[in-house]
Symmetry: C2
Subunit: 208 residues, 2 copies
């Protein structure tokens, strides 16, 4: 046995790419903010988006808020690991910060919509896929209404899409229920998944 961090059989475990996804309105941003505050030693990828900033959101922390032209430039220069149109706005994951963090041996969390997660699954199947869910569809509806950022028509579309997107869950490795008022438990579950993944005997081989 060697003296390295985890395995007595080989080099230290490879860094993880954790893909955090879930239906629109499930609370992905709140969970990410909680993970950031929890002092977890992971790099949290900041996405670029063309959508308008919501109250309280900070450029460069919650998102990089960019124009449609700038976003197109990033696509053309192949600077995005993945990008998609979600409800009329573009969202993308800048590739370089993710690659650099992984190369330094740091775990990375990327937040992405469900469709985007299926794309990442194709290009990086060895990432850790976590589906964040509410405990019921009713709770999802309440959350979206409370957010007050969608028009009634937009809300309706999101809920219809949600029903379809649930079929994608089997693609994920883990499902974490983000219960109303129990954000600490959600964060503890995600941390436990990261800890357990680091104990895996068979490491995930990321190729990014």
């Amino acid at each position: 046995m060697s003296h390295d961090n985890r395995s007595p059989l080989g080099p230290p475990p490879k860094p993880l790419l954790i893909v955090l996804s879930g239906l629109s309105g499930v609370g992905k941003d709140t969970v990410l903010a909680g993970l950031r505050q929890s002092g977890l030693p992971v790099e949290i990828s900041v996405s670029a988006t063309t959508r308008a900033r919501r109250p309280g959101e900070k450029d460069g922390l919650d998102y990089y808020f960019v124009s449609g032209e700038k976003f197109q430039e990033m696509i053309d220069a192949n600077q995005l690991l993945e990008w998609a149109n979600v409800y009329g706005h573009r969202y993308g994951i800048p590739r370089e910060p993710v690659r650099q963090a992984l190369q330094k041996g740091k775990d990375v969390i990327v937040k992405i919509d469900v469709q985007g997660a299926t794309t990442i699954k194709k290009i990086l199947p060895q990432a850790v896929f976590i589906f964040l869910a509410t405990s019921s569809m009713e709770e999802l509806e309440q959350r979206l209404k409370k957010r007050r950022t969608e028009t009634p028509a937009e809300l309706d579309l999101r809920l219809k899409t949600a029903g379809k997107e649930l079929g994608i869950i089997p693609m994920f490795d883990y499902i974490v229920i983000n219960r109303q008022g129990e954000i600490e438990r959600t964060i503890a579950d995600i941390k436990a998944i990261i800890t357990a993944e680091k104990c895996r005997v068979t490491p995930r081989e990321l190729d990014i």
Copy 2:
């Protein structure tokens, strides 16, 4: 989505059978005692053994200490899930308490030597296999010497066997390093593995 405990897609997750194994001397019993004290809601299987009780060990808690004849009766009546000769003594896992706990929906931890774990893997491949390791072979040797329960010849045999048994690690799902003086971390890692396993999208199908 339904309102059950974990998955919005189906029934609550099935209970887990956690197989905790590792080289002789790595501290399996100490870790189990720590898990028991931590209030983790799992059933910890008590093995039957023909070996002599060590100071501080309690019958029915650490082991069921039985005679060779009684052990043979248990084998003959098919009451043991698995049994083996380990360093001249017999060890076995009583089947009924494990089955009953799982049927009640309770997770069960069974502690077993490395050879026994390979047997369990054949009969219950969907169990969660955790290999407990020291951070180095030197540490394992120190632990065994400190225990003072082996003669020098027995100690030598255990260390030789240890080298061979390391080749079995790839059979396990997880490896947890039980660092000297960091039992709390070991226990936290095992708890994290249990939490993560309960978040798995694809449940393990135990047939016991």
